[in-house]
């Protein structure tokens, strides 16, 4: 009886849930163990559970930088790719925020003819695969001289990110209500003062959620970057893809994989404190 009570409505985990959480932790984190080992391996053949030869044993004899020596050297382009990824992600986020804020405001507050059609069009990029537009976009960009340029990639990244950003911002705008802005106006604040002193700070959870998602989506995009970067602009996903396209991972590929996870982990640690999960919910509440 007592047990049943606990299960019925307690806010505690059931035994199944405890087990499930352990499985999930294994599922998410488990694969990183061989990844880390591989990044230090020189030769690691089946069926060895640990590398037969470690990178450090061979380091002096090697004809070229191996494993972490290669990954951390400028030759690997890891640094360049990281800087590119973060740079593009940041610019895309800033632009996306700047153009989505006013639009989200209109969408949340105003009624106009064609609004629902517009909203539908807005979510199309979420369902039309990148593959369907990548090559055509490349042809357009080659003509415009934007292929292989930062401008081109940033523009292209705006396509799949705008829908996320607009959704999140529209949701918070709807929750915000006009009261605050009107109150500020009555108290004598100008349009700009209202935006700067009242609207933006109050939208912050949504802005953070939207910006985080935009940044994530941008830094995760492979196909568009790959097509439009033309090898000239390397980002972490395209760099890694080139390393693992064949379906095997050597030590340097493992090292690069680890590096590719770093910005995400750092972002996670920094942002987790500012994230209000509810803010995401609004964006996906449909």
């Amino acid at each position: 009886m007592a047990k049943k009570f606990n299960i019925a409505l307690s806010s505690r985990l059931s035994p199944f849930q405890k087990f499930y959480l352990l499985v999930i932790a294994g599922f998410i984190l488990g694969p990183f163990i061989p990844l880390i080992i591989q990044s230090f391996a020189f030769r690691w053949a089946w069926p060895d559970l640990l590398p037969g030869t470690w990178w450090l044993e061979q380091r002096e004899k090697a004809m070229a930088p191996l494993a972490w020596d290669y990954v951390l050297s400028p030759y690997s382009r890891v640094w360049e790719a990281t800087v590119n990824t973060v740079f593009i992600g940041t610019i895309v986020t800033v632009i996306c925020l700047a153009i989505c804020l006013p639009a989200a405001r209109v969408l949340a507050r105003e009624k106009f003819r064609g609004k629902s059609a517009f909203e539908f069009f807005l979510s199309l990029p979420l369902i039309v695969p990148e593959a369907a537009i990548g090559i055509a976009l490349l042809m357009m960009f080659i003509r415009l001289g934007l292929a292989g340029s930062y401008v081109g990639i940033i523009l292209a990244h705006l396509i799949p990110t705008i829908p996320y950003m607009v959704r999140m911002l529209t949701a918070v705008y709807q929750g915000l209500g006009r009261d605050f802005e009107e109150q500020a106006m009555i108290l004598g604040a100008s349009r700009w003062q209202v935006l700067r002193l009242v609207t933006l700070p109050m939208l912050l959870p949504g802005v953070v959620a939207g910006a985080l998602f935009t940044f994530l989506v941008s830094t995760n995009i492979f196909l568009l970057t790959f097509f439009l970067g033309q090898g000239q602009i390397v980002t972490l996903p395209t760099l890694l893809f080139s390393k693992i396209a064949g379906g095997t991972l050597d030590a340097s590929a493992a090292g690069i994989t680890l590096i590719v996870t770093l910005p995400g982990i750092i972002l996670l640690i920094i942002s987790e404190r500012f994230i209000k999960e509810e803010a995401f919910g609004k964006g996906f509440g449909n």
């Binding site: 391996a41 020189f42 030769r43 690691w44 053949a45 089946w46 037969g52 030869t53 990178w55 061979q58 004899k61 090697a62 004809m63 070229a64 930088p65 191996l66 290669y70 050297s73 400028p74 030759y75 690997s76 382009r77 490349l138 042809m139 080659i142 003509r143 001289g145 292929a147 292989g148 033309q230 090898g231 000239q232 390397v234 893809f241 080139s242 396209a245 064949g246 379906g247 095997t248 991972l249 050597d250 030590a251 340097s252």
Partner: protein, 423 residues
Amino acid sequence: DTAQFREAFLAGEVDWAAVEAQAKDEGSVNLYYWGGSDLLNVWMDRVVAPALESQGVELNPVRITSTKDAVDLVLAEQNSGASEGSVDMIWLNGENFATLKRQDALFGSFAPLLPNAANLEWNPEDERSVLNLRDFGVETGGAEIPWSGEQYVCAYNADRVAAEDVPSTFEALRSYLEENPGKFTYIKPPHYIGNTFVQEAIYAHNPDGTGAEPFQQSSDQIPAAELARLITPGMEYLRDLEPLLLDAAGGSPRYPEDNAALDGLFLNGEVDFSCTFGLYAVATGLATGSYPEAAQQFIFPEGHMIKNKNYLAIPVNAPHPAASLVLANWMTSVEAQASKLQQTGMPSGIDSWKLDEAGAKAIAEASPGLVGVEQDALDANAAPDTNATLVDVIEATWLEYIERDSSDPIETIVARAYENLAK
């Protein structure tokens, strides 16, 4: 501007000093190359870039995953009407060169005009010039310059295969696989390494016994039906081999996408043999840990080990033509070739008999060495590439007949491929 420079240079009106001066003005050069090899990437940054720097040119090494990407870019830019594109030089060979040539997208016959052209045999009378003048049977016309020479060599894992079991013919390979099913696979066409394996099988099964010879002609010269007749035994052999390939027991045979994937299978003992373009692949593979410790090269298939070169080409709309020429020239220097050989294991692309003694010695000393085979044996079993136009057909036939398991006879498939090609 660049077009004027091109004409003047090709007409021989620009002396090398002027080229070098203009290269300095242009300031940089965009080299597009397959960036899948760490060793090559390091060499580019560590050796090529500083060498060009010293000539006042900044190297922009663009690493691509597929050479076709660079070709696409050149053609798209050419078609957009702009006189300048973004690609100065592409590392390529075979079909991609043929494509650029067909589309008139090449800079022109620059190669013989370079100072280091002296390191190469241009005399058509000399049989040894063939790989400098023809690329997959297509005349280079000096529009690309040889960069590396390669031969298709297989390796086995001596820990898993006894020396006496190592096959040297396709029949022996099949026998081996009948004993050890699933222990072999080849890279999936249309990857050029996979194509090459298919070509060797076709040479070896040439019903006329003439090996590579008939495949030197272009598709214009050889009728579809004739080609079909010539390749049928080889294709049949490959189809029969399928059930013995890796994972075939699980339903469908598995063909790896590239040689990194094949190396991985080889290292883990999933396959016992690994065939690739790589005279020194075993030596470098051992040095990087990507090959099993007991890897040995062997002669296979006897008499049909395709040997070829790969090249550097300059597109017609190269934005930095002079710098490209300077780069091409440096790449064909002894210094470049020796360090490339030493640091990446890529064989020299220049002709040793054209070099002075010191040069020849430098190249020889740079070699990482063969493992388990002798150079003489390799030379003795060398075979030429297939003509680029036929490669397309053979590739299409493989995709139809082997991969898609088409029930159409090979003749029909080849005829269809010919039609498509004509479009």
